[in-house]
């Protein structure tokens, strides 16, 4: 394929100010073809992040914080501690199986310490009137600068060691780099005060708000103040929100019982395997044979194979649950979701973490909608996974999950508040059911797949040594399970319009309700297979430059497909509607 002719069809920057769509979106990059290409581009066409030095105005350069060295010294000591304890205190015989892991551990610690020291020596940064600049690198020098008005986020995070020394890792985002899941510029690490200062100077927030978020350990004290300052969220746009410097509005915080919803998962078994293996290796280093200990716990021979397997699965499951619970508690401790207002409009900010603290800021101007997923096993408990649909963020990035798994009603309330959709309440909108043909389509598929599997197994049983029990047991499981999923899938189908929001819901195992602003829809697609045509169904996909990029209303009544498309893409479809719609 040769592209012989290309015409950039985007209006020249500055010639046509953005009038449609969500507010304050700069014109998109004409050359950008990445899946989520809805990115701000500077009005003068300059890149967001520059690799050449801007004019020097004499501002002194600053170093990263010297306490990094202290943290690294401690890191070296800690990485050598297991070796010291094993060899000196416990008096383990130093054979190869013990020495190598300990040596690798110590070497890794020393390597990281040396790397950090080199970074401390070679890195300088400064904040001039126009630019944030950073010079770094030992062999390959790099000079990176971001124009201050392009800075969209300043996120701080700290690992345990860094927290002990009052250090913060600061990630500065200029919008563009978020697509590649990396920040425009990282300063690792500066002091807590310097991080707070950078945040305040770059995003123009008042000091109290910045202080309460950069230092999560003091969160309890500031929570009361921020909760009292909550402003009512209505249909007002981001510009109409509280003035610059207002105290953050708290939208949600962690409830301890959420840990129950987050500690049962398939990943628990994997985690248990990892924990068991790690424990076995560690204890083995100290000359303790965990395997023999487990074998001595009970008379496994008397219990028999099924009993032993059941006990193993149960133990692994329990270990996994505990592991996930601890993991959740440390990651989401002090979790808060807030809305703050800075120079560039409102920002949704989450702060969380017990040992490793993390703060993520999301530009509200990029918000296009939200998704509420309800996994099948959790639906009866009315628990859901909320996420936001936003441009410039990968769907796999943790930044799109603004809340952990939590009760559905709470998630709906928070998402509605986040979207400022209180008047229309799209997440609680009554959904239109899809026609019975959709149920028939799912049942036919379920039966077809199950019968094919049964037929293949029966044929194998007839021609090979496969026992006949296999095919009828498979059939007895597959047929009802398939039909059950078909019914569940049909019952989860739905769509609605609520004010400027289009709502679609689908999914048998993971029922996902997606709410998308119609102004953010960048195209519609109607698909209809021959089977769907016979059943009077059609699937409409609305595409957008955010989140998954496409959201589907599956198996609508065919005559309503065009109407749905027309409402999802106002004004774009009317010219293509049939003059006399067929009789329904």
């Amino acid at each position: 394929m040769t592209a012989e002719y290309t015409s950039p069809a985007v209006p020249p920057p500055g010639a046509a100010p953005p009038t449609a769509g969500p507010p304050t979106d700069p014109p998109a990059d004409p050359g950008s073809t990445s899946p989520v290409a809805d990115l701000p581009v500077p009005p003068d066409g300059a890149p967001l992040v520059e690799e050449t030095p801007p004019p020097d105005d004499g501002t002194p350069w600053q170093r990263l914080d010297g306490r990094m060295i202290g943290a690294d010294a401690l890191r070296v000591l800690l990485s050598m501690a297991p070796a010291a304890v094993a060899l000196l205190v416990v008096g383990v015989e130093p054979d190869a199986g013990v020495v190598w892991p300990l040596a690798i551990l110590a070497a890794w610690g020393a390597f990281k310490a040396v790397r950090n020291t080199v970074r401390w020596v070679t890195t300088r940064y400064r904040l001039t009137d126009d630019y944030l600049e950073r010079r770094t690198g030992l062999l390959v020098r790099s000079h990176r600068s971001i124009r201050r008005e392009r800075v969209r986020s300043v996120d701080g995070e700290a690992r345990l060691l860094q927290r002990l020394f009052g250090l913060r890792r600061v990630k500065v985002g200029a919008g563009q780099m978020n697509t590649a899941m990396e920040s425009a510029l990282v300063l690792d690490a500066v002091s807590r005060a310097a991080a707070r200062d950078l945040h305040a100077r770059l995003l123009g927030e008042d000091r109290t708000a910045a202080a309460s978020t950069v230092a999560p350990s003091t969160g309890a004290a500031s929570t009361a103040a921020t909760a009292a300052a909550g402003t009512p969220a209505g249909g007002e746009g981001p510009e109409a929100a509280a003035p610059t410097g207002a105290a953050p509005q708290q939208l949600s915080r962690l409830r301890p019982r959420w840990v129950v919803y987050n500690c049962f998962s398939v990943w628990g078994l994997l985690m248990a395997a990892g924990l068991a293996w790690g424990g076995w290796v560690t204890l083995g280093m100290f000359g303790f044979n965990a395997f023999a200990w487990v074998r001595g716990l009970a008379d496994w021979g008397a219990i028999g194979v099924p009993g032993t397997v059941a006990a193993a699965v149960l133990a692994a499951w329990a270990l996994g649950v505990v592991g996930l619970a601890v993991n959740f508690a440390t990651t989401y401790a002090h979790f808060r979701l807030e809305r703050t207002t800075g120079d560039h409009g409102a920002v949704l900010r989450t702060t969380q973490g017990l040992f490793r603290t993390q703060e993520i800021n999301r530009d509200e101007n990029r918000l296009r909608g939200a998704t509420l997923s309800e996994p099948l096993l959790w639906r009866w408990l009315r628990v859901a996974d909320p996420a936001i649909i936003t441009t410039g963020l990968s769907v796999w990035s943790s930044a799109s999950a603004i809340l952990p798994r939590c009760p559905r009603e709470h998630a709906r309330g928070v998402l509605t508040e986040v979207l400022r959709a209180g008047d229309d309440d799209p997440l609680r909108a009554r959904l239109h059911r899809h026609p019975a043909g959709a149920l028939r389509r799912r049942l036919v598929w379920a039966v077809a797949v199950a019968t094919t599997a049964i037929a293949v197994l029966a044929w194998l049983a007839a021609t090979t040594a496969l026992p006949h029990a296999v095919w009828w047991v498979t059939g007895a499981v597959l047929l009802p399970a398939g039909c059950g999923l078909a019914v569940a899938g049909y019952r989860s189908l739905g769509h609605a319009f609520a004010g400027p929001w289009v709502v679609v819901r689908s999914g048998a195992v993971n029922r996902a309700t997606s709410v998308l602003r119609t102004g953010a829809v960048s195209g519609v697609r109607v698909r209809q297979s021959l089977f769907q045509r016979r059943l009077g169904l059609a699937t409409v996909t609305v595409s957008t430059a955010a989140g998954y990029g496409a959201y589907e209303a599956v198996d609508l009544a065919a005559p309503r497909a065009a109407e749905f498309a027309d409402r999802a893409l106002p004004g774009g479809v009317a010219a293509f509607l049939e003059a006399d719609p067929p009789v329904r």
Binding site: A16, G523, T541
Partner: protein, 163 residues
Amino acid sequence: MTSISLRPPRHRVQRRVVAWWTLRALCGTALAAAAPLAAWFLWESSRTWTGPVAVAVLALGLLYAAVTPSWRYAVHRWETTDEAVFVAAGWFVRDWRIAPISRIQTVDTSRGPIEQLLGIATLVVTTASAGGAVHVRGLAPDVARASAEQLAEITRRTPGDAT
């Protein structure tokens, strides 16, 4: 039988595109059949099952190459207005796509070697979404170029942020 209440787009494409689709289907069939055929020639003990597999792949591929190009041609239509680009495509699964002018990012024409030989071109309209670009295959080259220029011109006049 229930159809959706969209009227078909106004313009059909060049008949020559059927040849292009046929060629593409034949190339795909050849690639898919290459593996079992190679095994049949090189590995004698496998002939009992690679033979039937190769025959099945070839038969299905040839059927596909015989049926789908004219089916696609019958379905494939396109239209541009001052507000949107409207394309209908597909065969077993039919596919209607509407991209509003205000959301268009780039308009390209592209011609692969075989398309150049057949004297046809493809119009590619990109919007800012993961849904992918809208392709109109099988246009006469001058028509494709004129439409691309016209679309670019309309897009320049249309206020929008292409998101």
